[in-house]
């Protein structure tokens, strides 16, 4: 008795193979799926599915007072969560009209640039891992550990940092934090140089990545690209320079720009951005050390309505007790209005559109997530290429699943 196998309709005439580059795959860094129609090794068509890690942040945010939304923003681009947190606090400060002192701005810049280095390190080393060069990844992980230790000194957590408050930081940077920062600034440039030497003029890496997954500047702009992917295509748009926030206008740094927008250009743009970030951190640290006396103790803005008062005042003074109670219970007075504010995240323009109707929670909060917007171009970019090129293109676009779905 033999059972006849029933093939699906049209499967004998079908000339292409369907391959599921599924949601759980060692090469896709996060959960997103691509269903590829392939002719041998060439990709003819790709359909992408996202939403495997959708956590309904925008709906949850409609029920949360402002401070309770910061942990949600952590989980957007979780490789560089301080940038998300700072961006959110900057948006709140714009709505609530809070002025930030310079020292806080410089400390924020230090933390944001550390986060940018941390994110670019993952992206670049993972391009190496995906093309077979695992060692670079391990060399630089040690410095990512040091960055995590710096975050831990300031806010207590390593990955999803929930760092800072509306108006500044929760505590002044301790001496240990500065010691760790100095160790990082001392030792990291040598490791970055070693990592760069491993890949930058490596014949195998260049042959593998040059011409792979290119995108033209017009296509990139039409697809809504921002960040290193857009700069690799040739457009020098960087939110830090275009609409400076948090005193970035006081710093002098270059914006690396590529030409063809292929994987090699993206690698080089991110690499050069890491050097520029190091320059910015050194400069910011020098500026922070210049503050003397009482100014060196400033770590938050003077806005008692939005910033938790120090505990000894809460226990002794009436106004501080009232403010503490109101802030913890989420009764922050939000003026009605709409504000769109953006920061330069590691992947591009991370925007927050906050609509407030005067209540205790936002009426509508929308995250403009750069990954979600430029992921649309992925199916276009890989068409006609080989499967292994598609994998390398995916890792060079730096797709973080948390930012894709929110």
């Amino acid at each position: 008795m033999s059972d006849h196998i029933v093939l699906p309709e049209g499967s004998i005439e079908k000339q292409t193979t369907t391959l599921n580059l599924g949601p759980t795959h060692p090469a896709t860094h996060g959960v997103f799926q691509n269903i590829l129609e392939m002719d041998g090794e060439r990709i003819l068509k790709a359909t992408s599915t996202v939403g495997y890690i959708h956590r309904a942040f925008e709906k949850i945010a409609e029920r949360r007072p402002l401070y309770q939304i910061t942990p949600l923003t952590d989980r957007l681009n979780y490789c560089s969560s301080p940038i998300n947190n700072m961006g959110w606090h900057i948006t709140c400060e714009k709505l609530l009209n809070v002025k930030i002192p310079k020292r806080v701005d410089y400390l924020r810049i230090i933390i944001m640039e550390l986060a940018r280095i941390s994110d670019h390190l993952i992206c670049n080393s993972v391009i190496g891992v995906d093309s077979g060069a695992y060692t670079g990844f391990l060399y630089v992980m040690q410095y990512r550990e040091l960055i995590y230790e710096i975050y831990e000194e300031v806010c207590g957590s390593r990955l999803t940092t929930n760092i800072g408050r509306i108006g500044g930081f929760e505590r002044n940077f301790t001496n240990t934090a500065f010691v760790k920062l100095e160790k990082f600034l001392d030792e990291y440039p040598r490791t970055l140089k070693e990592f760069e030497n491993l890949f930058k003029r490596n014949r195998i890496f260049m042959d593998r990545t040059i011409g792979c997954g290119p995108i033209s500047a017009e296509m990139a702009l039409n697809y809504g690209f921002t960040g290193p992917n857009l700069r690799a295509a040739g457009v020098d748009y960087d939110v830090r320079v275009h609409t400076p926030y948090s005193s970035y206008e006081d710093f002098d740094f270059n914006i690396p720009v590529g030409t063809t927008g292929d994987v090699y250009d993206r690698f080089l743009v991110r690499n050069d951005e890491m050097w520029e970030s190091l320059k910015i951190i050194n400069e910011a640290y020098r500026k922070v050390k210049e503050f003397k006396g009482a100014e060196a103790e400033v770590f938050h803005a003077d806005s008692p309505a939005y910033y938790l008062p120090p505990k000894k005042d809460v226990y002794t003074k009436m106004e501080a007790l009232i403010y503490h109670f109101k802030i913890v219970m989420g009764e922050i007075e939000m003026p009605p209005g709409e504000v769109y504010s953006c920061v330069e995240g590691a992947n591009g323009e991370l925007g927050y559109y906050l609509v407030s109707d005067g209540g205790r929670t936002p009426y509508r909060l929308h995250f403009r997530r750069p990954c979600f917007i430029y992921y649309q171009a992925y199916t276009e970019i890989i068409k006609g290429g080989m499967l292994s090129d598609a994998i390398i293109t995916m890792s060079s676009l730096n797709l973080i699943a948390g930012e894709l779905d929110a």
């Binding site: 996202v50 939403g51 959708h54 309904a56 925008e58 709906k59 949850i60 409609e62 029920r63 296509m219 702009l221 039409n222 697809y223 809504g224 457009v235 748009y237 275009h242 609409t243 709409e338 769109y340 953006c342 323009e349 925007g351 559109y353 609509v355 009426y363 509508r364 929308h366 403009r368 979600f372 917007i373 430029y374 992921y375 649309q376 171009a377 779905d405 929110a406």
Partner: protein, 139 residues
């Protein structure tokens, strides 16, 4: 940021004008989303476009209002390819039907979902669950 409204029939024409004009040059679509105002009878859903003129660094916000009983808005994917996923997300969350969109299906939620979760009438928690005590968890 300058915010203005346009009738929903003209949204594509307005965006095309802002794109083509040699002085205005709003050639970058930063964001596309919707807001639900249940109290505006006849204009409950607002589709909001954020545009950016990269050369002169000017940002703009365009709001287009539509009735919730028939939320049809012209799709702008022909002009901005980045609107594709963003319109799908707006459809998924609010039910705005974008006319002319190449593939208007849900993007972030499951395909079987038959309601539009970000509308104000839907509570935060899934009301079909029987294992949770509503007194403690329902918000």
């Amino acid at each position: 940021m300058l915010t203005f409204t346009a009738p929903k029939e003209n949204n594509l024409k307005v965006l095309q004008f802002l794109y083509d004009d040699a002085e205005l040059k709003f050639r970058f679509l930063t964001d596309l989303m919707a807001i639900h105002y249940p109290d505006n009878m006849g204009a409950e859903l607002a589709v909001v476009y954020h545009l950016h003129n990269l050369e002169d660094n000017i940002r703009l916000r365009l709001k287009v209002f539509t009735d919730i009983k028939q939320p049809d808005v012209f799709s702008v994917t022909a002009l901005f390819r980045s609107a594709n996923f963003m319109e799908r997300e707006t459809y998924d969350f609010f039910g705005v039907n974008f006319i002319g969109h190449p593939n208007l299906i849900r993007i972030l939620n499951v395909e079987e979902m038959d309601y539009f979760p970000l509308r104000k009438e839907y509570p935060l928690e899934d009301q079909t669950r029987i294992d949770k005590d509503d007194e403690m968890f329902g918000r």
